[in-house]
């Protein structure tokens, strides 16, 4: 029997990139808030620049709910789903502790892909089977929250558009922003400078990409150390602006905010009127019921959907907030496949750095170029970055041996010469939701508690494939202009869209409750005191990392909860 705890104002389920933001405006308002986090607090002493430790699965430390629960995936409904590892981590701060920390705003076009495509190219250009809708809000409505996030956590970058005034040093394709970034961009490396010159020689616009990493001391944290162990590892000097070192500790100081770690939420309870009553969770083998006036679900997209589908009641027989059958629908992950890589005839000195220390080109992203004569919509962001680790350098060379030996003197000579000469681009491309791509509960596979795991059914369609080919060719040109001897990869993506660190949809935001789970404020169309945070509310991907957008949305939803408190909790 669950132990019933004292009622609180707000429960946030998951203190990652999204929940870790939402706690701050709520705590600052004076409301009492409890954050239930499946992971634990991490210690910078466990963040050694040690490649083997990372490779051995010893990172992340602490309990990993994601590893127990897993995911299954299949390309389409005719297949049987296979079990996959979960791509995210559990900790206070969630995956923001070890993410790449590229911190982008979406392009204004990403908020109105449907209407802008129809206006510019005609209705026939909406890809067949896509369920894409315009967002219920515009870039301009989200801008103040992007601004708050950037200044609160510390984002480094160069504005390319302040109040409509373009600045060539930043991204001239970005939406208008109120003011400059709080921190200047991360510094450039020699390799980055070479890629800048190459991009310029093609007439393309290069810029240092924005990063949620401090380029200099900010709010008591030091500047980036560029030591090369940033990707998939925590920051030993807390220069990475994860919520664990920014908004969460600030919220704990600001108000009545309690962090409960190693708490695994199992279901959300509702009352007879279909309003949220509280959440059930397990901690240390004990069951607890935490009553609350309002609940914000802020786990990852997969877990948000899973938790809703597992929380069945008389009011919601098919899962919480699912009386319109939309939970799990409009799912997509980011088209990051179809890798393009290059081998240079000289060393790049790409040791050290961090994946967020990179150069981007947006000329071929979103609707920044004319698609009249093309057969797809959207595009991709071209991106090259620093950070190379010794074992990865050795293993990465193999692809350039073209079936040659992978041991012995000949191999060793090749490794010696080329370990620091190869590079792989990071290409994020527009991905759309489709009617037959979705999430649901796996009918067979269960977690150790006996609850079904989430199942992904999703595959790439023609629009994604065409973008992949188009972007790969642009990337090839950029590498060749920089002096690459060889470029690999035709950008082809095929088959399943499997588990991703960029998962979108499943609880999409929109004004129409027939096709969306949450309203324009991020609150359920069906359960009024239930808010949902994270990529699961996003209806488009854009061509860039989702974190800053879902953080801006989380701030906006939390602020709406505070400002509309009396109406929401009744």
């Amino acid at each position: 029997m669950a132990t019933a705890l004292k009622k609180t104002n707000v429960v946030i389920i998951g203190l990652g990139a999204a929940g870790g933001i939402a706690c701050l405006p709520i705590a600052q308002s004076g409301l009492e808030v409890i954050g239930l986090e499946a992971g634990s607090w991490l210690d910078t002493k466990d963040m050694a620049p040690d490649e083997l430790k990372l490779n051995r699965g010893l990172w992340p430390p602490g309990p990993q709910k994601t590893k127990l629960e897993g995911i299954t995936a299949r390309a389409n409904a005719s297949q049987t789903a296979i079990r996959l590892n979960h791509p995210m981590m559990n900790a206070v701060g969630g995956t923001s502790v070890h993410y790449w920390a590229q911190s982008w705003r979406l392009n204004p076009w990403d908020f109105k892909v449907r209407s802008e495509t129809m206006r510019r190219y005609g209705a026939s250009r909406i890809p067949k089977g896509s369920t894409i809708e315009d967002w219920p809000i515009t870039y301009e409505e989200l801008e103040p929250y992007y601004d708050k996030v950037e200044y609160e956590i510390g984002v480094s970058g160069k504005a390319g558009n302040i109040g409509g005034k373009k600045d060539e040093r930043g991204n001239v394709f970005e939406g208008s922003r109120k003011r400059e970034y709080p921190l200047s961009p991360l510094r450039t490396s020699g390799f980055m400078e070479r890629m800048i010159a190459a991009g310029k020689s093609l007439g393309w616009h290069t810029f240092v990409a924005p990063a949620a990493i401090t380029s200099r001391p900010y709010n008591g944290r030091p500047g980036c150390a560029y030591h090369g162990y940033c990707s998939g590892a925590g920051c030993h000097v807390s220069a990475k602006s994860s919520t664990a070192v920014t908004t969460i500790p600030k919220a704990m100081k600001a108000g009545k905010f309690t962090v409960v770690t190693e708490a695994r939420v199992t279901t959300i309870e509702v009352d007879n009127n279909g309003r949220i009553a509280g959440v059930n969770y397990l901690k240390g083998g004990q069951e607890y019921f935490q009553p609350a006036d309002a609940v914000l679900v802020a786990s990852y997209a997969y877990e948000n959907v899973r938790l809703l589908l597992l929380s069945k009641s008389k009011a919601y027989p098919n899962g919480l907030s699912n009386n319109h059958g939309q939970v799990g629908k409009h799912y997509f992950s980011h088209n990051q496949g179809g890798a393009v890589s290059a081998l240079f005839p000289f060393n790049l000195n790409n040791w050290y750095g961090t994946p967020a220390q990179g150069i981007a080109i947006d000329n071929w992203a979103d609707d920044n170029f004319d698609h009249s004569v093309l057969d797809f919509i959207g595009g991709g962001n071209l991106y090259v970055y620093t950070e190379r680790r010794p074992m990865a350098a050795v293993n990465g060379v193999q692809t350039w041996m073209q079936g040659g030996p992978n041991w012995g003197s000949k191999w060793k000579a090749f490794v010696k010469e080329n370990a620091d000469r190869w590079n792989v681009a990071y290409l994020q491309k527009t991905t759309l939701p489709y009617e037959d791509n979705y999430l649901d509960l796996d009918p067979v596979v269960k977690d150790p508690l006996g609850f079904p795991v989430i199942r992904i059914t999703a595959e790439y369609k023609d629009n994604e494939r065409k973008i992949g080919t188009f972007i790969a060719e642009k990337m090839r040109q950029w590498y060749m202009a920089a002096g690459a001897a060889r470029v690999n990869g035709d950008g082809n993506v095929a088959g399943g869209m499997f588990a991703s660190t960029h998962a979108y949809g499943g609880t999409r935001m929109g004004d129409n409750p027939e096709t969306n789970v949450v309203d324009r404020w991020g609150f359920s169309h069906e359960a009024p005191n239930l808010g949902i945070l994270g990529g699961s509310v996003m209806g488009t991907s854009g061509a860039r990392n989702p974190t800053e957008t879902l953080q801006a949305l989380a701030w906006r939803t939390a602020e709406h909860l505070v400002q509309g408190w009396k109406n929401i909790v009744k």
Binding site: K45, L58, R187, F346, N347, N349, Y352, W407, S409, A419
Partner: protein, 223 residues
Amino acid sequence: MLRLPGEDHMINDCLTRRQMLQRLGLMIGLAGGLRLPARSSARAQGLGAVGNALVSLTPAEAETLRAIIARIIPADENGPGALEARADRFIDRALAGALKNQRSTYVAGLAALDAYAQSAKGSTFAKLPASDQDFILTEIQFNRAAGFDGGSGQFFNLVRTHTIQGTFSDPFYGGNENFIGWDLIGYPGARVVVSPNLQRMDIKPESSRKSAYDYGMFNKGEV
């Protein structure tokens, strides 16, 4: 910081070393009340002896393993190889620690490899000339050698993976002796802060010649 004779790259790894000592049944003075210099010197003496002692494999198994890794990454005109980097010591230690579940795979695989060398070339692997060793390893890599559980290629890939780890991972784990692996590929060593100059393309950055654990900031993992 305590530096041990002949073990310059292995710093202050007390716990793991103590476990090794226990495994070997050696006694060292770690009782409370000992003055620090006495304790250090006692530990140094005991640990110095352990430094190169085998903790998982028999001398015969280790000899075979050394002969294999010496062909996977050989010493040649491009410099020292996996043997000089002590990838064998890395593997032997890991098989008593982080890779202990694979110890039986190694024991069986090394025995099968020697048996195959005996049947194909008339001698145990370590005693064969390099060209015969390369022939044997190629047969094993391409799954053409009998006597291996799960196929000989699987065993080859396991040893190759661990040889690369033992040559190019942090020296804390017992391999990459004198930064041989990192120097081979030009990796300039573990650092906790990197200056702008170290990221330029027109210079070859100087190696820090440091393990991550030389900085005294981090908890150590299992060897």
